[in-house]
């Protein structure tokens, strides 16, 4: 038996504005373990890109090292891609984004790549408000090296062999909120109804969008005593805000009682409709959001959904005045200041 997905397009398969089917947004066959949460995240990204009718060549996929970082190979085969060194994906993203701000950057990383070796890189990408969607596939374990605790493993959670984790975890959501991220969300690989709209909103957001996706490791962290197993996450996730993505020029047809929903307009005219599942929650107030998540963490709950959205803040390109056109399309004469120009710039630093 071969493990290849047959190229069958069922008659009547839905097509998007570009005439493409969802399957046209797939990539190579996954070689991750059967049942890996990351494959569901991949499927959610495929679904989101299909629904947004993104031309594949307008997408750039970036990753570092780890199980999570393999997943960029499994979606949008026609996109640009760069698989960087461990923890250094944000640096690649900064460079690529500075050179070409027209692409949509999707970075896929894991808890090891982002919170251990790459923590410094992640922190600064957030501060700079890089214009990218950063998917953090979070399973609390180093799967590729066979099951050591990662930096996001909760205190007291147990490894497959029964060991107890004794270090404090780094919560990417709290980290992002405290460093000034403008789009912070948490979701679960097993909940595509929540995840797909978040990805669509994240791809539309201008600035750094972090989605912390609880994505269970079926091989090394799906046992009793784990706080990142399918069963545990299902029991302990608490959706606070559901984000519905509403396409540009599409009317919001569902009406909500006052205080139940807020609509946030994105730069391209689309809307993200935030439905409050918890009435006391305000996803546009960073301080309150931070307090809310912290309080829930104490209660061993994962708050999921759109946790904070600050649309309209200045981002990397505003701050650095990057050109609209990609550098490779700017004439050489304009791109290169020349000796005299360079001397002028250098004298400015003296």
């Amino acid at each position: 038996m071969r493990v290849t997905k047959p190229r069958i397009v069922p008659p009547g398969a839905p097509r998007n504005e570009l005439g493409m089917t969802r399957r046209d947004y797939e990539g190579g066959m996954s070689t991750l373990c059967a049942g890996c949460g990351h494959d569901s995240v991949t499927a959610a990204i495929v679904q989101a890109c299909f629904e947004l009718s993104l031309p594949p060549q307008s997408v750039a996929k970036l990753s570092g090292i780890g199980c999570s970082s393999k997943t960029t190979a499994y979606f949008v085969a026609g996109a640009h891609g760069f698989n960087g060194v461990h923890g250094r994906m944000p640096a690649i993203a900064a460079g690529a984004s500075a050179a070409n701000r027209k692409l949509r950057y999707i970075g896929v990383s894991g808890d090891g790549d982002s919170l251990s070796i790459g923590l410094g890189q992640l922190g600064h990408a957030i501060r700079r408000n890089m214009n990218m969607l950063y998917m953090l596939e979070n399973n609390g374990v180093y799967g590729l090296t066979k099951g050591q605790f990662s930096a996001s493993a909760d205190m007291g959670s147990r490894s497959k062999k029964g060991e107890k984790n004794q270090n404090e975890p780094i919560d990417p959501v709290l980290l992002a909120l405290s460093l000034g991220a403008t789009f912070v969300a948490r979701s679960f690989s097993g909940d595509k109804e929540q995840l797909v709209p978040l990805i669509k909103a994240g791809l539309t957001h201008r600035g750094f969008g972090l989605i912390d996706v609880l994505s269970p490791c079926v091989t090394f962290n799906d046992h009793e005593g784990s706080t990142k197993s399918y069963a545990y996450v299902r029991e302990h996730q608490q959706a606070a805000i559901a984000a519905d993505y509403v396409e540009p020029r599409r009317e919001i047809t569902v009406s909500y009682a006052e205080g139940e929903a807020v609509s946030v307009e994105m730069h391209d005219g689309s809307n993200v409709l935030l439905r409050k599942l918890d009435r006391d929650y305000d996803p546009t107030d960073r301080a309150k959001a931070l307090a809310y998540v912290q309080e829930r963490v104490q209660r061993n709950e994962y708050v999921t959904g759109m946790i904070y959205l600050g649309e309209g803040r200045s981002h990397f390109h505003d701050r650095h005045n990057t050109p609209d056109e990609p550098l490779n399309s700017i004439p050489y004469e304009k791109l290169c200041p020349g000796s005299a120009g360079l001397a002028g710039i250098l004298s400015g630093f003296r």
């Binding site: 038996m1 290849t4 997905k5 190229r7 069922p10 059967a34 569901s40 991949t42 299902r234």
Partner: protein, 602 residues
């Protein structure tokens, strides 16, 4: 919703669309896999178990399996199932040693079969090895019934008929050729039979009583004319021939006319295309031989001048068609088509002038016998009907299935068991998993298109009446065609209690046939499927509640291509690929076979 009960043998049977559609429930995917392995004789035997005449049916079956084939749902054309059956027959070795024989000591029961067509031969095939003494009475001097007299030899060579009928006779059935049964009463009273099976077919062609009908002897009735050709009595026909009617008999008549010297043959249909009774492939074969098919011509009269047939007069018709049905019709004019011969192929009927009406066999007001649709028993308990004789004209594969069922009934009747109690169907499942990424079947989707069957050239084939037009696949073409089969009998079997709802199967499924969703009433649940439900006739699997969320796994059987990726990507083996064997009982399953060799163990 109530979780699906997959122990019901019909559930997995329906998934194997070809086998479900086949009246005799031939295990098609199984024999196709055997052909793929080069095990042609084994493939032949799997066929023979259900349909008894693989070589014959591999040429002229009505192929209800092919329109049902799953392949036809993912691309234009189904697997060439019928042609593959012929491959198994063409390339087999001598299978005679594998056939059962009558036991040396018979069981003392005598059965008469009237007519040596497919239904009677199937009864003999099923009962002789059980020890029954079976006598077949045939009015003609040759066996085969309508298979021989109505199907021209350029489609079904006599040797193929002789060989496969020979298998049945060699088991130990007794054949009485040229012995018509003129009186059923006498046979019942004096024959000393424990049961009588009537398999006399539908031998009477319908006539068209219109002005001029009696004015010429050049107006023929299709099946009688074909019969006369088959027996060599008719060797010629005029230049211009009109065939009235557009069923499969009409196709045989027009192609036979071309071989007897006609230069212009027109098939005249009353209705437009889409309302034709002939199979699509038979129409194509006829049109390839330059037969013209005229639509919307309703016969009005025969044109006889000076005692000679000159032509036929037709009304030109116009129809209003709405949603595939004719809602109104009108005549727009008249037209005369000249001709030398007319062949009427407008249908056939069964006829029983030899059955007395006072011997306890009831007939309905159309002159057809009252026959039980399950047991094939007549109102006189020791008399059974099957094939076209039972419910009017159908086809060979239905006749075979009638024969199987009648054989069960006859056996139960002779053993003093209630005939209405039928042996139950069953289903057996066995995993195809061999290890990590290892499955013992070939799931790879092969995008090859349907192979074309090579045919004898358009000049060569008319040289002689009995040149078989279709040459059949060679081993290479067959090797490609078999890979088009989607292995529908390798079932996706789900164990709800093992599922951790990781979505791996949902994400990998190439056709979106799986959904995990909250339970609900069927109609409402069907609106929440990942891919819209297109075909409500097809099975919908709904699991029991899943452990973690209480949702259910739903599978739309219509869309599945049996690629096995759900099972491949399942971390807990909640999905497994399992071969299903649908157990279709035959008479031998009701009895311990005294001859020691069983067809099924062969």
């Amino acid at each position: 919703m109530q979780p699906t009960d997959t122990r019901d043998p019909d559930y997995y049977h329906r998934v194997v669309d070809c086998q479900w559609a086949c009246p005799a429930h031939t295990d098609v995917p199984e024999y196709i896999r055997l052909i793929a392995q080069g095990r042609y004789s084994d493939a032949y035997m799997v066929n023979r178990e259900s349909n008894v005449f693989p070589g014959i049916l591999g040429r002229v079956c009505d192929r209800p399996c092919e329109p049902a084939c799953r392949r036809g749902r993912v691309e234009e054309k189904p697997v060439a199932i019928c042609r593959l059956k012929r491959v198994a027959a063409d390339l087999r070795d001598d299978i005679r040693p594998r056939l059962p024989r009558a036991p040396s000591v018979r069981n003392g029961k005598r059965i008469a079969c009237i007519g040596a067509g497919p239904a009677s031969l199937t009864v003999a095939n099923d009962l002789v090895p059980l020890g029954y003494e079976v006598l077949i009475f045939e009015r003609y001097t040759r066996t085969g019934g309508l298979m021989r007299t109505n199907i021209p030899s350029f489609r079904l060579p006599a040797e193929v008929l002789d060989e496969e009928i020979g298998y049945v006779l060699d088991m130990g059935a007794e054949l009485r050729l040229g012995e018509p049964v003129d009186s059923l009463k006498r046979l019942l009273d004096e024959g000393g039979f424990d049961a009588v099976f009537v398999g006399t077919g539908a031998p009477t062609g319908k006539d068209l009583v219109l002005p001029g009908r009696d004015g010429s002897d050049r107006i023929h009735i299709g099946i009688a004319w074909l019969e006369s050709v088959a027996f060599g009595h008719t060797k010629k026909i005029g230049d211009n021939v009109l065939i009235i009617g557009v069923g499969n008999t009409a196709m045989d008549c027009c192609r036979t006319s071309l071989r007897l010297g006609a230069t212009s043959v027109k098939v005249v249909a009353r209705k437009p295309r889409g309302f034709f009774k002939a199979s699509q492939w038979e129409l194509e074969d006829a049109e390839e031989e330059s037969v013209e098919i005229l639509v919307n011509h309703a016969p009005r009269s025969f044109l006889i001048e000076d005692g000679r047939l000159r032509g036929m007069v037709f009304d030109r018709m116009e129809y209003e068609v709405d949603a595939g049905r004719i809602v109104a019709e009108r005549v727009t004019g008249q037209v005369t088509l000249p001709c030398d011969d007319v062949i009427l192929a407008i249908g056939q009927e069964n006829a029983f002038p030899w059955i007395e009406r006072d011997i306890g066999i009831e007939f309905n007001r159309w002159g057809a016998p009252s026959v039980d649709e399950t047991t094939f028993q007549a109102t006189r308990p020791e008399v059974f009907f099957g094939g076209d004789a039972a419910f009017g004209p159908k086809n060979i594969i239905w006749a075979v299935e009638h024969g199987h069922q009648a054989a069960i009934s006859i056996h139960r009747y002779c053993q003093g068991l209630p005939v209405g109690e039928r042996p139950p169907r069953g289903v057996k499942l066995q995993s195809r998993k061999m290890g990590m990424h290892e499955w013992s079947y070939k799931n790879d989707y092969n995008p090859s298109e349907r192979r074309l069957v090579p045919q004898v050239g358009l000049k060569e084939r008319f040289r002689q009446l009995n040149i078989e037009v279709e040459l059949g696949f060679d081993a290479d073409a067959a090797a490609t065609e078999v890979q088009r089969c989607l292995n529908c009998d390798i079932q996706t079997v789900f164990e709800a209690k093992l599922c951790i709802e990781c979505d791996a199967c949902i994400d990998i499924c190439p056709t979106d046939c799986l959904t995990i969703t909250r339970d609900g009433p069927r109609e409402e649940l069907e609106t929440r499927l990942k891919a819209p439900r297109r075909n409500p006739e097809q099975g919908l699997y709904v699991s029991s509640a899943l452990k973690q969320t209480g949702r259910v796994m739903v599978k739309d059987e219509d869309l599945c291509v049996h690629c096995g990726l759900c099972a491949e990507r399942c971390p807990t083996n909640a999905w497994d690929m399992q071969k299903s064997w649908i157990d279709i009982p035959h008479a031998e399953d009701e009895a311990t076979c005294p001859s020691g060799t069983s067809r099924k163990s062969a």
